[in-house]
């Protein structure tokens, strides 16, 4: 298990719990009571710590290596019916962007998401969740496929940003994201987007135009990562905590400013501490909104989608 720097109390209690369990297994001393107490204390510590996370701590949780990534969500939500489809039909298959059909309780859905690697080797294979233009084009191809067969789309956003590289620029990273924005606005099928971890900038928005946009409780979503913001505005990476606060990037902040449609709760202790409960929360929200959105007329959905994004902004007119 990986513990974050502010989870020290939990870590110590967990270590004690392990030891107690080992004693219990030997069967010479009865420590049932101690174990129960420890478990209770762990829950209490989690509750206490997670009740008042700072914006930067939210960012840390969103990047937790044990956090469920897109494919984990997709497999859970589709009950392992997911069939991954590959390639953008132009250049190659981007491993940082996954997509394909799956079924939720008998209804077929197009799943799309940015995928991070689950270990050191896979992180490189997935390019740390940073898609290239072909990733965004693959996503758009699959969305078009869903539209053709009238299947709703669910996207899982989890990226530190679109990849900044030579080939990405050569193949039009900007154009690929821009194209997705305008095309997703006019998709005739329901689109639900969920920021499950990191929602960094245009790279996140590139699959983030939906009738409903949700964030998991500990996810973050903004125009830039706190580190990069700190580098640009304070000329040092050390102000990342201050930058995280200034950017108002937490789910609660985003909802307060009407820039997302809702927050999906995470179990106490964060999604990494209990995958199953996280999936249950997501399933509940997704099913509810899929039903509602499916009842609407396509034109009405598009109109509302456009009206929602058009209303985003804050200014004064004199």
């Amino acid at each position: 298990m990986v513990f974050l720097d502010f989870e020290n109390d939990i870590k110590e209690l967990m270590e004690q719990l392990e030891k107690s369990r080992a004693i219990q297994e030997k069967g010479k001393v009865d420590v049932t009571k101690t174990i129960a107490e420890l478990e209770d204390n762990i829950n209490k510590a989690r509750e206490r710590i997670y009740a008042e996370l700072t914006p930067w701590q939210h960012v840390q949780v969103s990047r937790h290596p044990d956090r469920p990534y897109a494919l984990a969500h997709i497999n859970a939500l589709s009950n392992n019916t997911f069939i991954e489809l590959h390639g953008d039909r132009t250049v190659k298959d981007d491993k940082a962007m996954v997509g394909g059909f799956g079924s939720i309780d008998g209804k077929t859905v197009m799943f799309i998401g940015q995928q991070k690697g689950i270990n050191a080797k896979m992180r490189v294979y997935r390019n740390f969740g940073m898609a290239n233009p072909e990733g965004y084009r693959k996503a758009l191809r699959l969305m078009r496929l869903a539209e053709k067969f009238n299947k709703p789309i669910i996207t899982f956003i989890d990226t530190p940003g679109a990849y900044p590289g030579i080939e990405a620029e050569e193949r039009g990273q900007g154009e690929a994201i821009a194209r997705n924005l305008i095309e997703m606005m006019q998709l005739k099928v329901p689109v639900i987007c969920i920021v499950i971890g990191e929602g960094a900038s245009g790279g996140a928005l590139g699959i983030g135009i939906g009738d409903k946009v949700f964030m998991l409780e500990n996810a973050w979503y903004s125009v830039i990562s706190p580190e990069s913001c700190s580098t640009i505005l304070w000329r040092t990476r050390d102000q990342k905590e201050q930058a995280a606060a200034a950017l108002k990037l937490t789910a609660a902040d985003m909802l307060e400013h009407n820039l997302i449609d809702g927050i999906i709760p995470e179990p106490i202790g964060g999604a990494h501490s209990d995958h199953e409960s996280t999936f249950q929360f997501v399933r509940k929200e997704v099913k509810k909104h899929l039903t509602r959105l499916s009842k609407m007329d396509a034109e009405e959905r598009i109109e509302k989608r456009i009206a929602k994004f058009s209303a985003m902004g804050s200014f004064v007119e004199e």
Binding site: P164, I166, G174, L259, F315
Partner: protein, 281 residues
Amino acid sequence: MGWFKRIKGGITTSTQNKKETPEGLWHKCPGCKQVTPTAENEANLWVCAKCGHHQRIGSKEYFHILFDDGRFELFNEQIFSNDPLHFTDSRPYTERLEETCEKTGLHDAIRTAIGTADGEKLIVAAMDFNFIGGSMGSVVGEKLSRAIDRCIEENVPLMVISRSGGARMMEAAYSLMQMAKTSARLSLLSKKGIPYISLLTDPTTGGITASFAMLGDLNIAEPGALIGFAGPRVIKETIGKDLPKDFQTSEFVLEHGFLDKIVPRKELKPFIANMLRMLAS
């Protein structure tokens, strides 16, 4: 006698008799260091006569270049940023805004105007780089959206002149969502079949490239402009290698298939007017 001993004094003119050169009479080209009289530079549309370097000009100059007889109507001028996130870095965003408004005489990083170019009616939205790097916040998004809506209402073609570093960090997610907002309005314009010409100038990067700048029916650029998604410094740091020589120039982007044409400033107005006529007839 030492040959290095100075016999004659250096500057002998007394301060009172000194002749001042008035400020702004001359312009030095940042490209080739050629010095030209300002009037001549202006007559040449702020393009170096010697090396062809296109200087960074603003909305005022583009309106002057594009609209017939310098006549045009500015609209939605009175929209101002209101610092929704109460953003403070080294100093408050509101302070930065006030100072920039005063220094530039502008209200934000974009101005929108309607007029005719060689008799062809069009709406031009031009960005000003000297307003916080031409960055896009809520005001830029709103003014551009309203310009697009007016194009739809009055069935007038749209031209957007981009010159921007990208999103305005002090408006964080609001700024990000302007990419979505402007794309939403453009999707409606496109449905109506109204032409949209996007002109990319030096520099056009970040969220601007990843939204409206790359969504023109025609994407054109000025010669030698920096055009890209990620900034060159970021890419260099990420890959840890030097970048190719012409990387992210207009010419590079044209070669890779993301621009329709590179149009020098002098040919801009006739090109636009001609293209609009071709699309209309």
